[in-house]
């Protein structure tokens, strides 16, 4: 009798042990699955970089940067494309950075909780989900035809500026939020007005966070293609925009803002869409430049974020 009880207890213990072991196996298996998922993602990234570099890097040369696009693949270059990308980047930065930081400061420091603020916040979240190509359609209808800005660098810069605006607003708010209240109260106690407090204290202390947002948004803008195609970027441009400096008074010229443009991603799209493999090599070389630029910019942003988190202990 008692041996039967003992035996059934023993069986229960064994059962439980088996159960525990099984669950440990499941735990382990899930861990391995997670690791594999991560590895697969990283491998894809690596495959993309290596594939592009193997095809594109041998094509990179000084002439590639100083030649205009051409019908002959070996003579084609990206001069007009990188100049266009650069000019548009400057326009985008001038439009999005002040606007984004100002909006972030208002929402974080000035706004009272009411329906309007709620609406603005909801809207910023939703803007992130709106397809970028609809920004291009909006720009085509509004900037190009309504405001008569033409299919110009200015239009493109404004379009990308509005597109990346939410990124700058959100990172500005996050950066400002990490500044502790004691700093604000200290500034007020010394008689600072609200704007003095923001300008002399909040903005300098949150500059690291804001800078990461700015860099990320510019790296996004530099790779953005779809809205610019919609706005009317040309794919074959064999001239440069007007120079920004002149020999005679007033020395600075903004004529380039009204010039037609092409950018590196569009040049790459044009080349990759052609059937000849020689043009694909050109596309890969342009891709290498784009990839290096975006990865370096993102790397800098990550580094700044990391540094600020390490150094700033309130």
């Amino acid at each position: 009798m008692s041996t039967a009880v003992l035996q059934s207890e023993r069986a229960q213990v064994l059962d439980m042990r088996a159960n525990i072991r099984r669950r440990q196996w499941v735990d382990l298996a899930f861990g391995v699955a997670g690791l594999l998922a991560l590895l697969f993602a990283l491998l894809t990234l690596l495959a993309l970089i290596i594939d592009l570099a193997m095809t594109g890097v041998p094509r990179l040369s000084w002439e590639f940067f100083t030649n205009f696009p051409s019908r002959f693949p070996e003579r084609a270059g990206i001069l007009s494309a990188w100049v266009g990308s650069f000019a548009i980047m400057i326009t985008t930065a001038c439009c999005a950075i002040p606007l984004g930081i100002a909006a972030g400061v208002y929402l974080e420091e000035y706004a009272s909780k009411n329906w309007l603020t709620g609406l603005i916040e909801l809207n910023i979240i939703n803007l992130a989900g709106i397809p970028s190509i609809t920004f291009g359609l909006m720009a085509l209808g509004l900037f190009v035809y309504q405001f008569q800005l033409g299919q110009s660098i200015l239009t493109a810069g404004l379009t990308l500026g509005l597109l990346v605006l939410p990124i700058i607003i959100v990172t500005t708010r996050e950066a400002i939020r990490t500044v502790p209240n004691s700093i604000r109260e200290a500034a007020y106690a010394l008689g600072a007005s609200r704007w003095q407090m923001v300008w002399d204290h909040l903005l300098p202390y949150s500059s690291g966070g804001i800078l990461t947002g700015v860099i990320i948004s510019l790296s996004r803008a530099i790779g953005e293609t779809a809205p610019l195609i919609t706005v009317g970027a040309l794919t074959f441009i064999a001239f440069l925009p007007h120079p920004p400096v002149m020999a005679e008074f007033p020395f600075l010229s903004f004529q380039w803002l009204k010039d037609p443009f092409t950018v590196m991603p569009i040049q790459m799209f044009n080349w990759v869409s052609r059937p000849q493999p020689e043009f694909h090599v050109n596309a890969a070389a342009t891709g290498v430049i784009l990839l290096v630029m975006t990865l370096v910019m993102n790397g800098i942003a990550i580094w700044i974020r990391y540094r600020f988190r390490q150094r700033l202990k309130w």
């Binding site: 509004l142 509005l162 990759v272």
Partner: protein, 288 residues
């Protein structure tokens, strides 16, 4: 006085984002209205041919809609499982220092320009798939969808991981104390608690996939095709807009209006999924 002035300027800056949304909706609707004077809404919604630039133009949105939904579905079937598992792994299995390294690297996947992904899909993934399935054409929805899926993995994993990590520690510890394994804790405690945050991650990923343009324009071909077969080429709404924009298009022509109608449809589709996400989240929060 100066303070008031500054506050007013900052306020204007903050409202600018609302004007952007308003501008997008207004322009899309305004330019689409004349289109529906030409094409009855019923024909637009049920027509199975989309040839706006042909002599005998047909305006049925279904082929484009089909291409968009098909590529999105493929992308999501890659991104959601991969992203969720990666998120659970990062949040529950890895040490904090390792997570600090892995997460930014994973996020680089979302930083790569989409046109580069298009190149990758057309000239790397498609030839790879052709080795497995030799009949596969040079343009197909499958490779575009797969690459798009990899591209949006970070959107899923990053936000999901944030949501999982914000699950209070005492809930997890309670689960462990009752003898649950890590796997059980993840599926019975962490994911249900973080579900609301994970829904926003999924919705953002869906929005990204629906609106993705360059990958599908380059790798999926540009012929509108009413098919559910991922091995065939097809055009999405976004690819159509690109195709038309590449050409010279007179302002006010029916072709010009058709890209706005396509854009409006896309926006409406995105909106539907966002509302669905909101509804799911509210429904779930009520149950708690």
């Amino acid at each position: 006085m100066k303070e008031r002035f500054i506050e007013a300027i900052l306020f204007l800056a903050a409202t600018s984002s609302v004007f952007v949304t308003f501008g997008i909706v207004w322009i899309l609707v305004k330019e689409s209205i004349p289109f529906f004077a030409h094409v009855p809404l019923g024909e637009f919604l049920t027509g199975t041919e989309w040839t706006p630039l042909f002599e005998n133009a047909r305006f049925g949105i279904l082929p484009l809609l089909c291409g968009t939904l098909l590529s999105t579905a493929i992308a999501l079937s890659v991104a959601i499982p991969l992203g969720t598992v990666a998120a659970a792994f990062l949040s529950e299995y890895t040490k904090p220092w390792l997570r600090e390294i892995l997460k930014p690297i994973l996020e680089l996947l979302a930083a790569v320009p989409t046109v580069v992904y298009g190149y990758f899909a057309l000239l790397f993934v498609t030839p790879l798939l052709q080795k497995i399935h030799p009949d596969l054409g040079g343009f197909n929805v499958l490779s575009a969808g797969l690459v798009m899926g990899m591209m949006i993995v970070p959107y899923v994993s990053s936000l999901s991981e944030d949501a999982m990590r914000s699950v209070p520690g005492h809930l997890k510890e309670g689960s462990f104390a009752l003898g649950a394994s890590r796997f059980q804790t993840i599926f019975r405690v962490v994911i249900p608690t973080a579900f609301s945050g994970m829904t926003s991650a999924y919705i953002l990923a869906i929005s990204r996939a629906l609106g993705e343009t360059m990958v599908v324009s380059i790798a999926a071909g540009m012929q509108p095709n009413l098919t559910a077969n991922p091995l065939e080429p097809a055009a999405t709404i976004t690819a159509f807009i690109v195709q038309v924009s590449m050409g010279d298009l007179p302002h006010g022509s029916i072709g010009y209006q058709s890209i706005y109608v396509a854009g409006l449809t896309l926006l409406f589709l995105t909106l539907c999924f966002n509302v669905l996400g909101l509804w799911l989240r509210q429904k779930y929060q009520e149950k708690e």
